[in-house]
Symmetry: D5
Subunit: 92 residues, 10 copies
């Protein structure tokens, strides 16, 4: 089941650099593990913004929330989730 997710990151400017680097490193590892598992199907940078558009493929709303709320950057992001369905003109 597919969902489009837009994530906008807003790290407080007074967070110590070491703490920010640590969170970002854990975020990257987490994101890559989910991509390898096939659950985080696509991940694109929005040009000019500290933001991404992603497509997730999961079993349920429940699973998607668990994955998203586990993101190390979750407390510093605004997320927007759009459930997707097969399009009648899609050839896939």
């Amino acid at each position: 089941m597919l969902y489009l997710v837009r994530m906008d990151v807003h790290i407080p400017h007074d967070m110590p650099a070491a703490q920010a680097d640590d969170i970002k490193a854990r975020e990257k590892a987490y994101a890559q593990e989910l991509q390898r598992s096939g659950k985080w199907q696509q991940l694109y940078r929005v040009v000019g913004e500290y933001a991404n558009y992603s497509v997730f493929d999961v079993e349920s709303n429940e699973e998607l929330h668990t994955l998203l709320s586990g993101l190390p950057l979750f407390p510093y992001m605004r997320l927007q989730v759009t459930p997707l369905a097969k399009h009648p003109s899609s050839i896939r």
Copy 2:
């Protein structure tokens, strides 16, 4: 080069059904041809809306505009285009 495009369709309610059916049939053929060519990479229905999210893979802004403005439904849609770039955490 990738772009996320959201398309929201608003067909005037007084358009004759035959005209609307004809436009939709041509839209479907056009969309499937572009998918087969690899330029319209992904096409998803937004759940509960007469709208889609699509990913296009084209050579330039120019080519994208030519493809989008050629959509039979173009005069009846609102389009929003977001240029995408590779994400540093992407494993692809």
Copy 3:
């Protein structure tokens, strides 16, 4: 799997009354059938508006879109879909 759906109805003011009545009667029958099946779990009127908030319990995004796009009033409504998950403080 649960979803909150808000539906805002906008019937064109020049639609003949008989046509509008027919659509509304079919909408009511459709809504009641889905409620009896357990898929349309809750249905509330928004006070002062020709709108409702509903909770659907379905198997997938796919099934939800099929149900919503089958609504007789679908061409005359704006729908907003919010996927829901279990809340950690819920006692249910």
Copy 4:
């Protein structure tokens, strides 16, 4: 009498963890007590957000405000209240 309430939580990032944990624990106890009393009828997590949609069943606007403003997280939330009425197509 029913109301839909959306709650978006924004805890300041510089609040000490112990204080935040204490507020959240009291929030959970408060929410569960109101659920057991039947006044906080439903409580759902919005997927991907630190937010919930809830349905309250109370005697009056007055009572609802008293319950909501007593939430331990109240100073850190944005609340939106929508009064609900019985829908003519509801089978309940």
Copy 5:
């Protein structure tokens, strides 16, 4: 129980004048009857707009929706309802 209601009127410009006059006359009679009953407590024109702010005093959400949806201008208005409660600094 009090509610603030804002009503914005949008009569289609192609409605025949006689029909519009009839609806407005019935709206006025309806509004004055509800004011005399004490349920429509206050009614103010918004300066420069075809709109009003009103305060209703009713028994329930249910009753308010019945009153509002019975307005002859209801199909031609956008309504926004805000539930009110006693303010701790109010001297009334």
Copy 6:
């Protein structure tokens, strides 16, 4: 001359409690004095929000601004002022 005023309070979370309590006590005294004078005609809490809707009855725009900018909470509020006029359907 009547005006509807909506006030949304946002006290910075790092203001010392004693200072906040002092401002709120002065705000209450100020509000009650203006109510007794007849200038602050009505004062309602918005359900679920740290906000109010008020009706002021003053001689001029000038006087209203003087009253509002004198509110002890003025630096911590967002105010929206709507001038009101007599409604042709009002029976008052």
Copy 7:
């Protein structure tokens, strides 16, 4: 007493030209009469838009509403009214 008013004109595109011309001619006469009376103090075109910003100097909210709702273009405009007061740094 001063008010800033923004007026955005939206004449339906299917209004006969003769009717539109008549309304505009009456609007112009009305606007010039009010300017000569001193009540419509200033009148500026917004560059690139069929819109204006105006300053009115009237006795009351009541009078302003009477003047504005008497505009021949009133049914085809969106108006926004902002009450003004003397600025403490103004030298007038």
Copy 8:
């Protein structure tokens, strides 16, 4: 003196094709004449939209409004005008 102008075109769908074609042909001629004069410095299509971003170089606000309101498509466009100034980091 430079201005950025965004123009969004909305031609009513029931305008006869011949009329629309005539307006567009006159618009094109008008736009090209102004470009040749140096007043309409730049003209870009917004990708995926029936809209453009333009830069005008004119003597005054007055002149800009005269040029824009003379556009054959003016009654069918929404325009947004942003005055520009030299940027301190510009090398031109």
Copy 9:
């Protein structure tokens, strides 16, 4: 050449009072000097807000930006600039 400017002031609540007072005193002197020069033609307080609407009469976009960016409160304000032109119904 005329421009309407709206200025909304947001002084950080943790700025020391002496610093804020100094900035405001310099702002007042600056505003009065520009008014005496005829460039800052009008200056009104928005009722109920720490904001003003102003009309400037300057030679160019360039000059307006120089004046506005020189405001002592410039770093603490949001400004919106609207270029104005002569209105065809104006009698001035």
Copy 10:
């Protein structure tokens, strides 16, 4: 390939002046180097705002994101990117 970019700068008011000056100096050098290279084609100040509109001419979405995210002020700006195409009425 052309893109319009709007940049709004928001430097935190508690950033030490020396740090802010250093960032701005590096921003200016970076902007001028990109202008000399032909990639940052145009750079205009938005009148009355700490913001600019720019036109970039780059090879790809990828290159644009690399340039923009390398801006010394990037962490303190909101950027909006609009892809542009040749306009059919352009004479260039």
